[in-house]
Symmetry: C2
Subunit: 418 residues, 2 copies
């Protein structure tokens, strides 16, 4: 494929006009980190001036009545449309890790006679840390079983099925794996778990907004997810959580706070859970970060997840093809699934010198991707603003820094944070 061919794809891309709705005017920058931090929508920049300068600055405390108090629920309903959830099941609250903590403990309480938690080794480590802290808090009587990856890329559905048994209280997985982009067959896993009476909790952080997720249709029990990746909510934007409607009145959050209280402004001294999903709120939400999310959600809903997914498959497939053609001869290997049905919207490629290559891409080529230990370069392709030309140019830049050997001028010594 040539750069002209990539440009032709962009000319015929129905989502291409959405790119101009983002701040993309950094000369020469190729940003392929959409699975880490989504770009800034122009509407968000404008909205944040209004939120800070008008709503906080002038409306002051009246902002709570006007739009802030209901924001966690109102914005939750927009996320609900993206994850296939009927109304009344999704709220924005806390971080993904704190939400996972709340839902894991709530789920385990629903299965008091079972002591097995099933996950996999591709899950995001923070999710595993949360599980470990829940097990510790409950006295150590639960066991976490991590299904290993046989190829370091994917998890076998059969191996996972075999681990889910009558002692399993909870199956909790990342729908799309943070490193490799592997995408679980969520419907099949949820069905298997329910056959043996286990509950299922999905982490949608790397799929929401870019891979169709159908929580209601799958029959999922619970879910959490991050909003600052493909949802473009801004750094550290509040996370969401989903609890299936039929479970809501049967569970309590393990963390009680006034926003989860039935009538917070009556200031009763005794907790009474709010009706429905609101009981999983805890304290006051970080309103600036929460409201920053809303314009991006509107934009993603306007583009449509189906159209986004269709372009995502074309983008990731193009990257895989270019890798085969251009990068495999330079010593690279694919670190993501080849089957697009089993792949999210990021693609990882492997090279022993991935760290130094990434340094050179940043410093010399103005290409921003992610390095992950020990040998992985990760490209997050966000169809609402990533172009086919971006992908073509990124591969060409990788080719250049490797062919020229320029990456060797960088120290292999890791910098503290990436």
């Amino acid at each position: 494929m040539t750069s002209d061919e990539a440009r032709a794809l962009d000319r015929h891309d129905t989502l291409a006009p959405f790119r101009d709705r983002f701040v993309v005017d950094q000369p020469g920058l190729i940003y392929l980190n959409g699975n880490s931090l989504g770009r800034l929508p122009k509407a968000t920049a404008e909205r944040m001036r209004e939120v800070v300068e008008q709503e906080w600055g002038c409306d002051l405390i009246r902002g709570w009545n006007r739009s802030w108090y209901e924001a966690a629920v109102r914005i939750g309903e927009k996320v609900a449309q993206l994850v296939g959830a009927a109304p009344g099941q999704v709220i924005l609250s806390d971080s993904t890790s704190v939400n996972l903590f709340k839902l894991v403990l709530a789920a385990l309480e629903l299965r008091p006679d079972r002591n097995r938690i099933v996950s996999d080794t591709l899950n995001f480590p923070s999710d595993l840390y949360v599980l470990q802290s829940c097990v510790r808090l409950l006295g150590g009587r639960h066991h976490i079983h991590l299904v290993p990856s046989e190829d370091d890329i994917s998890i076998s559905l059969e191996a996972l099925h075999d681990e889910i048994d009558e002692q399993t209280a909870l199956v909790t997985l990342s729908h799309v794996a943070f490193k490799t982009g592997f995408c679980h067959d969520a419907a099949a896993i949820t069905e298997r778990a329910h056959e043996v009476g286990a509950l299922v909790l999905w982490d949608l952080s790397h799929s929401v907004g870019v891979v169709p997720t159908e929580l209601d249709r799958w029959g999922a029990d619970m879910a959490v997810g991050c909003t600052y990746k493909y949802l473009c909510g801004g750094p550290g934007a509040p996370a969401f959580l989903y609890v299936r409607r039929e479970l809501q009145e049967r569970v309590l959050s393990p963390v009680w706070g006034w926003f989860g209280q039935q009538a917070p402004f009556e200031f009763d001294l005794t907790y009474q859970p709010a009706e429905g999903i609101r009981r999983f709120l805890v304290g006051t939400s970080p309103i600036l970060s929460l409201l920053a999310l809303e314009p991006a959600l509107d934009l993603v809903l306007e583009a449509g997840v189906q159209a986004i997914r269709a372009k995502s498959v074309r983008l990731t497939s193009m990257l895989v093809d270019l890798m085969d053609e251009v990068l495999v001869p330079l010593g690279f290997a694919l670190g993501s699934p080849r089957d697009p049905d089993r792949r999210g919207s990021h693609v990882s490629i492997l090279h022993p010198e991935a760290y130094r290559i990434n340094r050179a891409l940043i410093e010399e080529m103005n290409v921003l991707a992610d390095f992950r230990e020990p040998n992985l370069l990760r490209f997050g392709l966000a169809p609402v603003y990533t172009s086919f030309t971006d992908v073509w140019q990124a591969v060409d830049c990788i080719r250049q820094v490797v062919e020229t050997g320029h990456y060797r001028s960088y120290s292999p010594q890791r910098q503290p944070v990436t």
Copy 2:
């Protein structure tokens, strides 16, 4: 006192110039809600444009290396200076309620043979809900003892001392009570608790930045606090937590997440707590809300807590005096301590028609204060922007709406949120 006399006090007020550092150009507005939502510093408005449009919009993922990753700790050190804490003991993280949850469970684990938790009925209800959820999570073997208020304004130090015994694991109180402004003798209570081997956890939400708090000098074990009141961090700004240095390596957070992991970017599958106070971080912080706090902290540090406290005492004393002179004859009573040593920076006044009077103050007088059930009007005086004239005018407005009976045109039916 006349309005001329109030204006004269403003002319001689050394903190008066700080008022111009805030957005205060709403014509006619008298804002006395500083204990609920602090005003917007002009520097914050400017900083937020930079954070959103430059750091997120253009720096993108590089923002993490440049200033975001360390923000929870860096900003924590600024809060530390306000609460009398040596470096390395304060971080910004989550909400006040979630932080309280983490620290209550950590504290109870340090006193495994004790089953008594002491608090009081003036504590913020969300704090009591958190305690109730902790007790439930630990199987119900702990008992919460709430010391009652004999006068509905204050808590007797003797009554509190009597409740703190050898079975007490934890004493946890709001330093300044949210409704009445009562201020505990934190040094004496901490000393008493330590005499019998109990731990002490202070909620500084209503005192930080306006009442000198000396966590290290008191010997406090733990503390939490809110940053959107007198610290002017913006609606729902992230909360802080303090753990005394000597305890840090002896406790674990009950909620493990990647920001509390020793080396988060190594992505180990097993949690290893970070050194020191960082282990109480959980997930990714809401960066926009977190960074909004920093300019306000700089401003409060520049003004100095001692000068702020001196003006606060004068403001609240003036309000108490004016109430005696002008409002008691109209049926009001004081709902806060008369002794300024036992009073924070808000003053509550009581009237059977407080709800309708507050409606009239908002709608007719452009005076923003807080109504709290059933009969309380609360005035939060923030010395960095509240003037003596504000206080004089507010009292005069209350006089007018009561003398004219205008408040009677409002329905006593409560609006959903205040």
